[in-house]
C-alpha cells in the first residue's frame, strides 16, 4: 500500500483544517492560561466568556465548511 495519509487536497480544505486546529488550541493550554483571570466581562467570568466564544466560533467555522463542501459538491 503506497499511499500515506489522508490530508486536505485543496487550499480551502487546508484552510478549514487549520481553522479546526486553531479552535482546538483556543480551548486548551496554553491559550486557556492567557484568559485564566478572575475578571468579569459583561458580568461573566472571563473564562466563561472565552468558552462560549470558542463554542460559537465552532458554529461559524462549520458554517463556512458547509459552504465549501456544498460548493465543491462532494461529501
Amino acid at each position: 500500500m503506497e499511499r500515506l495519509l489522508v490530508l486536505p487536497t485543496s487550499r480551502a480544505g487546508w484552510g478549514l483544517f487549520i481553522a479546526f486546529v486553531v479552535l482546538v488550541l483556543a480551548g486548551t493550554w496554553p491559550v486557556i492560561g492567557w484568559v485564566n483571570r478572575a475578571t468579569l466581562v459583561m458580568g461573566l467570568p472571563l473564562l466563561v466568556v472565552w468558552s462560549y466564544l470558542v463554542i460559537f466560533a465552532c458554529v461559524v467555522v462549520m458554517l463556512i465548511g458547509n459552504r465549501i463542501v456544498e460548493r465543491d459538491d462532494h461529501e
Binding site: 500500500m1 503506497e2 499511499r3 500515506l4 495519509l5 489522508v6 490530508l7 486536505p8 487536497t9 485543496s10 479546526f20 479552535l23 482546538v24 480551548g27 486548551t28 493550554w29 496554553p30 486557556i32 492560561g33 485564566n36 483571570r37 478572575a38 475578571t39 468579569l40 459583561m42 458580568g43 461573566l44 467570568p45 472571563l46 473564562l47 466563561v48 468558552s51 462560549y52 470558542v54 463554542i55 460559537f56 465552532c58 458554529v59 467555522v61 462549520m62 458554517l63 465548511g65 458547509n66 463542501v69 456544498e70 462532494h74 461529501e75
Partner: protein
C-alpha cells in the same frame, strides 16, 4: 416537601415521554436491524440535532455540573468546550460514517471496525469492551433518575422502585419503537431541558440578587471567593494539563451510540447541518452552572455538591418550578441512558451473538429488541439499586478505553496501512496503561489517564501495523473511496484512490 405538584409534574413528563416513544413506531415493523437499530436511516436535521444534543446532555448538566461549579468553579466549562469539539468531530466523521453504513450495511460501530479490518474478533472485542463503559454510563443515569423520583415524591418512591419504574418506561417504548423512540423522545426532552434550565436559572438568579442578570452573582463571587473564577479552581485540582487532556481524550472517545445516531440520519448532509448548530444547544449548561455558583454563598454547608440545584430550588423556588426541574433532570438522565442501552443491545446482538451463533439477520433483529430486557433488568437495575462504590471507576476505565479505540478509526479515516494486529496491539497497550493510571496511580502529573494510554497506544499501533500484513487492498480501497473521496496527499502531490 409536602406539595404533590412536583411529583405530579414529573410523572406527567414520564407519561408524555411514553406516549411519544410508543407513537414513534407509526405502524412500522421493528424486527429489522435497519429499522429498530438506525430508524431506517430517516432522521431529519432538527430531530437529529435534538437527538445528539439531548443524548450528550445528561443528568450531569442538572446535577453534576452545578455541583462542580459549587465545589470547583469555572473549571466545569471544560465540558461545554469538549461538547462543542464533539460537534466538530460529528461534522467531519459523521457524514463518512453514514456513507459507510448506507453503502456497506453497517448498523453499529463494531460492524464498521469488523469490516474495515476483516476481523469479526476485533469487532466483537470492541463491542464487548465498549459495552462496559456504556452500561456503567446507563447505570449512573438510572441512579440519577431514581434519585429524582425519590426527591420529588418526598421519599415515597424508594430508589429501588424508582429504578424499576424508569427502566420499565424506557423498556416499553424502546422495545416498541427502537431508535425512532429515542429520536422522538430526545427531541421532546431536549426542548424541555432547555426551557427548564433557563426558567430555573433565571428564577434562581432573581431570588438571589433581585434581578435577572448573572452579573450580580459573579460580582459577589469575585469579591468573596475569587478562586472559583479561575483554574485550578477552588479545589485546586483542575490544572491546565488536566483541563487540556480531559478535553482531548473526551473528544476522541467515539462512543457507539453516537455512531448509531449518525447512521440514523436521512443523509450525510443532514448530519453536517445538525452538527453545525449543535454547539448552540450548550447554552443549556450556563444557567444551571450559575445556580451552582449561587449555592456557594447561599448553601455553604451542603453535604453533597451535586444536589445544589435541587436543594436551592426546594428552598427558594415555587413548587411548579421544582416539579419542572424534576421533569427536566429526569429527561436529561433518560435521554442519555436510553441510547446507551439501545446501543449495547444492538451491538451485542449484531457483533457478538450473530457471528458466534451464526444467526440470520431476521433473527438477530428480533434478538436485539428482546436483549434490552435482560440488559435493563438483570444488569442495569441490580447495579443501579446496589450503587457499587466502584461504578464511577468502571465508568472512567470504560471511557478511557473508548479513547483507546482511536487507532481503529485512524485506520478507517486517515491511514490505509493500519493493520488488524496493529490496532489490537495499540488498544491492549493503551487500555492497560489507562486502567493502571486510573486505579493504581490516578492521572500522574495531572494528566488524564486516557491521554497517557494514547501516548503508548499510538506508537505501538504504528509500529505493529508497519511490520504486520495490511488489510486486503480491495477492502481498504472501498473504505477510502469514502474517507478520501478526492484522493490522498502523498509526498507533496495528489494520488488518486
Amino acid at each position: 416537601m409536602n406539595s404533590p405538584w412536583p411529583l405530579l409534574i414529573t410523572l406527567t413528563y414520564v407519561a408524555i415521554a411514553m406516549v411519544i416513544g410508543l407513537r414513534a413506531r407509526a405502524g412500522r415493523s421493528m424486527n429489522s436491524l435497519e429499522e429498530w437499530g438506525v430508524a431506517g436511516r430517516s432522521m431529519g436535521p432538527v430531530t437529529l440535532y435534538l437527538l445528539i444534543a439531548a443524548g450528550s446532555v445528561s443528568a450531569y448538566t442538572f446535577m453534576g455540573a452545578p455541583g462542580w461549579a459549587y465545589s470547583k468553579g469555572v473549571a466545569v466549562f471544560y465540558v461545554a468546550i469538549y461538547l462543542s469539539y464533539l460537534a466538530l468531530v460529528a461534522w467531519y466523521f459523521g457524514p463518512k460514517v453514514w456513507q459507510f453504513g448506507e453503502q456497506f450495511g453497517h448498523v453499529t460501530q463494531a460492524s464498521a471496525i469488523s469490516d474495515r479490518y476483516q476481523s469479526p474478533a476485533l469487532g466483537a472485542l470492541a463491542a464487548l469492551v465498549m459495552a462496559i463503559g456504556s452500561i456503567a454510563y446507563a447505570v449512573l443515569q438510572t441512579i440519577g433518575s431514581a434519585y429524582i423520583l425519590f426527591v420529588m415524591s418526598g421519599g415515597l418512591i424508594p430508589i429501588w422502585l424508582g429504578v424499576v419504574l424508569v427502566l420499565a418506561c424506557i423498556a416499553v417504548y424502546l422495545y416498541a419503537s427502537g431508535q425512532r423512540a429515542i429520536g422522538r423522545t430526545n427531541a421532546f426532552q431536549g426542548v424541555l431541558m432547555l426551557i427548564v434550565a433557563w426558567a430555573v436559572g433565571l428564577w434562581a438568579v432573581h431570588s438571589a440578587t433581585g434581578g435577572l442578570s448573572f452579573a450580580g452573582v459573579f460580582e459577589r463571587i469575585q469579591a468573596e471567593h475569587s478562586e472559583f473564577l479561575t483554574l485550578p479552581g477552588a479545589g485546586g485540582d483542575m490544572s491546565f494539563s488536566f483541563w487540556t487532556t480531559s478535553i482531548i481524550v473526551s473528544m476522541f472517545s467515539f462512543m457507539p451510540p453516537v455512531w448509531t445516531q449518525w447512521m440514523s440520519a436521512s443523509s450525510a448532509r443532514t448530519i453536517r447541518r445538525s452538527a453545525t448548530w449543535l454547539p448552540t444547544y450548550y447554552v443549556v449548561i450556563l444557567p444551571m452552572v450559575v445556580v451552582g455558583f449561587i449555592g456557594i454563598f447561599s448553601l455553604p454547608e451542603l453535604a453533597r455538591a451535586d444536589t445544589v440545584v435541587l436543594e436551592y430550588a426546594m428552598q427558594h423556588l415555587p413548587v411548579v418550578l421544582v416539579g419542572l426541574l424534576g421533569a427536566g433532570t429526569l429527561a436529561a438522565s433518560m435521554s442519555s441512558s436510553e441510547p446507551f442501552i439501545h446501543s449495547v443491545s444492538l451491538s451485542l446482538s449484531k457483533d457478538v451473538l450473530q457471528p458466534v451463533l451464526k444467526l440470520s439477520d431476521g433473527v438477530t433483529g428480533k434478538l436485539a429488541r428482546l436483549l434490552i430486557l435482560p440488559i435493563m433488568f438483570l444488569v442495569v437495575a441490580p447495579l443501579a439499586i446496589a450503587e457499587p462504590g466502584s461504578l464511577v471507576m468502571i465508568l472512567l476505565v470504560g471511557l478511557g478505553f473508548a479513547s483507546q479505540v482511536l487507532p481503529a478509526f485512524i485506520g478507517m479515516f486517515f491511514w490505509p496501512r493500519a493493520s488488524r494486529l496493529g490496532v489490537m496491539a495499540g488498544i491492549v497497550a493503551g487500555f492497560l496503561i489507562t486502567v493502571a493510571f486510573t486505579t493504581l496511580w490516578p492521572h500522574p502529573m495531572g494528566i488524564h489517564a486516557g491521554f497517557w494510554g494514547l501516548m503508548l497506544n499510538l506508537p505501538v499501533f504504528v509500529a505493529v501495523s508497519l511490520i504486520t500484513p495490511a488489510t486486503h487492498a480491495e477492502v481498504v480501497e472501498r473504505f477510502f473511496r469514502i474517507a478520501a473521496p478526492r484522493g490522498f496527499t502523498q509526498r507533496g502531490r495528489r494520488a488518486a484512490v
